[in-house]
């Protein structure tokens, strides 16, 4: 091997003036501090907006949100109205959305990342999944109305609503799961194959456990989006006032966001409906808070470092 000697001129000549560099450090540190403050202000702004929103809603709901409201039946008279049926509707809706979305979404992601050949078709499908995530929810409502409501004859049942919402959030779950699967290092797959494991064993024992936190976080966030969606359900034709409390997935129903929507519309008729809407929003926000906290706890609990 030849010894590389560096010409003297290249070694000793200095291009960076230490004094100037030091002066620049002061400027650079100042710019860094400005960036720090700007980033801090954006979060202050976001928190302030959130606080105003929550404050207003809670103020309107005081005196209306009580146990009787949560366990009571719907009524035209504001002081008698309760949302037990509405909560049941949302719960049953999620009972449909959660398993369907999780199963189909994760299975699609596994196929796309682990099994399918990575060619032009793969890329095309990927782009379309990403595009689907950006389609307005009203369009999904129309699709649900046509396919589930009319073609399958499910009408405006919980099943029809749940399947529609599943379609709506599936792209998000697929993309989140794909990213989580991609983040599992290839060396782990190779270690598993190197021991004679099949693809399915590798996916089940190595890839999925590694990707689980990402998949769970993505799925729970998707569920919290589904629970707050209004437009697709409105398009499906959910009845305005349902007195019966739903017990199965074929029943007609109403859900939290829908009820908020109708009560807000009817505020022009009866002023107290605004308070009912506010109280329902508090319940919905509470549910979202619980769901998102669960997402964060699950992510932290299962978080792995490679």
């Amino acid at each position: 091997m030849t010894k590389t000697t560096v010409p003297e001129s290249h070694r000793t000549h200095k291009y960076i003036d230490p004094e100037k560099a030091h002066q620049r450090v002061k400027k650079r540190v100042m710019i860094n501090n400005i960036a720090h403050v700007l980033f801090f202000l954006t979060i202050v702004f976001a928190m302030a907006v959130l606080c105003v929103l929550i404050f207003n809603i809670i103020k309107d709901s005081i005196g209306w949100l009580d146990w009787k409201f949560i366990t009571g039946k719907l009524s035209i008279k504001p002081e008698k109205a309760g949302i037990k049926g509405v909560i049941m509707g949302s719960a049953l809706l999620m009972a449909v959305v959660a398993p369907v979305t999780l199963f189909v979404g994760v299975a699609t992601a596994i196929y796309m990342e682990e099994y399918s050949k990575k060619g032009a078709i793969h890329a095309l499908i990927n782009i379309n999944i990403a595009n689907l995530a950006g389609v307005p929810s009203v369009i999904f409502g129309l699709l649900g109305l046509t396919v589930f409501g009319r073609l399958f004859g499910l009408g405006s049942s919980i099943l029809a609503g749940g399947l529609t919402l599943s379609l709506l959030v599936l792209p998000n779950v697929v993309v989140a799961s794909q990213e989580a699967i991609k983040a599992v290092p290839n060396s782990l797959r190779e270690a598993s194959y190197g021991l004679g494991a099949t693809k399915w064993t590798t996916v089940r024992k190595v890839v999925l456990p590694g990707a689980l936190p990402g998949i769970m976080t993505g799925s729970i966030l998707a569920l919290s989006r589904a629970i707050g969606e209004t437009a697709p359900l409105v398009v499906l034709g959910i009845p305005t006032l349902i007195m019966k409390i739903p017990t199965g997935v074929m029943d007609d129903f109403t859900a939290l966001p829908i009820q908020i929507y109708y009560w807000t519309l009817d505020t022009v008729l009866t002023k107290e409906y605004a308070n009912l809407a506010a109280a329902t929003i508090v319940v919905l926000l509470g549910t979202l808070f619980v769901l998102n906290s669960a997402a964060i706890i699950i992510r932290n609990k299962f978080q792995r470092r490679y």
């Binding site: 590389t4 010409p7 290249h10 960076i16 450090v25």
Partner: protein, 254 residues
């Protein structure tokens, strides 16, 4: 053969904590200018932690605490230095080659650009100088626009060294710079380190005792967070004072 070089880093009564865990206990050490100081010891003995405190890389880890004093040319680096200033003077090369996902040219120009050098002609000169100094100029001079990640591991590590040199630091810290490389690439880097000694002060962590013996002037042996022995490399390897040092270098434990 005690050298007359002046003291670059002076470390006195240094303790280091990760939370409740004490990683370094009462370290006292002098690192001299234009010398290569090797840090050896078994995994987890604190040698990397020590290296990373010399340019305050440990600041990036939460819940760590440094006690005692570390001075660079007599100035306390934890009290009287802006950390950015410090890192301009004390560069670092990491264990795994970590070039940025950009062209070779942009990798090298990253540091000089931070320091306000915008002129293409000057940048060109710095890039050439640094790549030459890192002994990789001849291999990449026609491909400066190529993505640095497309190079081999040994070449990537020399790009990383060139990137460090481009900022014109005074001290270069190296954390096992050859552990991910093949023997030929390792020899090239060792050759290079020897060459760089003329202009820089080098502190290198290595797991390879032959490497420490081949390239360093002084060697420090760490064990369980303590500095067991520090002396001329020849002396430490041929005639260690401490029984633990002898056991380690003869392979009786560690």
């Amino acid at each position: 053969m005690e050298t007359k070089n002046s003291v670059k880093f002076k470390i006195e009564n240094m303790d280091f904590h990760y939370g409740d865990f004490q990683a370094l206990k009462n370290i006292n050490l002098e690192i001299k200018e234009n010398e290569i100081t090797a840090l050896i010891g078994p995994s987890g003995c604190g040698k990397s932690t020590f290296l990373r405190s010399l340019n305050r890389m440990n600041d990036l880890i939460e819940n760590t605490k440094v006690d005692g004093s570390i001075t660079l040319d007599g100035v306390d680096i934890y009290k009287d230095y802006d950390v950015i200033d410090l890192r301009l003077r004390v560069g670092m090369v990491f264990q795994k080659p970590n070039p940025f996902p950009m062209s070779i040219y942009d990798n090298i120009a990253y540091g000089p650009r931070l320091n306000g050098i915008r002129k293409k002609s000057v940048l060109d000169k710095i890039v050439e100088k640094s790549l030459r100094a890192a002994a990789i100029w001849d291999e990449v001079k026609d491909d400066l626009k190529k993505n640095a990640l497309a190079l081999s591991g040994g070449q990537q590590q020399r790009i990383c060294i060139a990137r460090t040199l481009a900022v014109e630091p005074e001290v270069i810290l190296m954390d096992e710079p050859t552990s991910a490389l093949d023997p030929i690439a390792t020899l090239k880097i060792e050759d290079l380190i020897n060459e760089l000694k003329k202009d820089y002060t080098i502190v290198i962590v290595t797991h390879n005792m032959q490497q420490a013996g081949r390239i360093s002037d002084k060697t420090a042996f760490f064990l369980m967070g303590e500095l067991i022995e520090f002396s001329e490399t020849d002396k430490l390897f041929s005639n260690p004072e401490n029984k633990k040092t002898e056991d380690y270098i003869t392979g009786r434990f560690g």
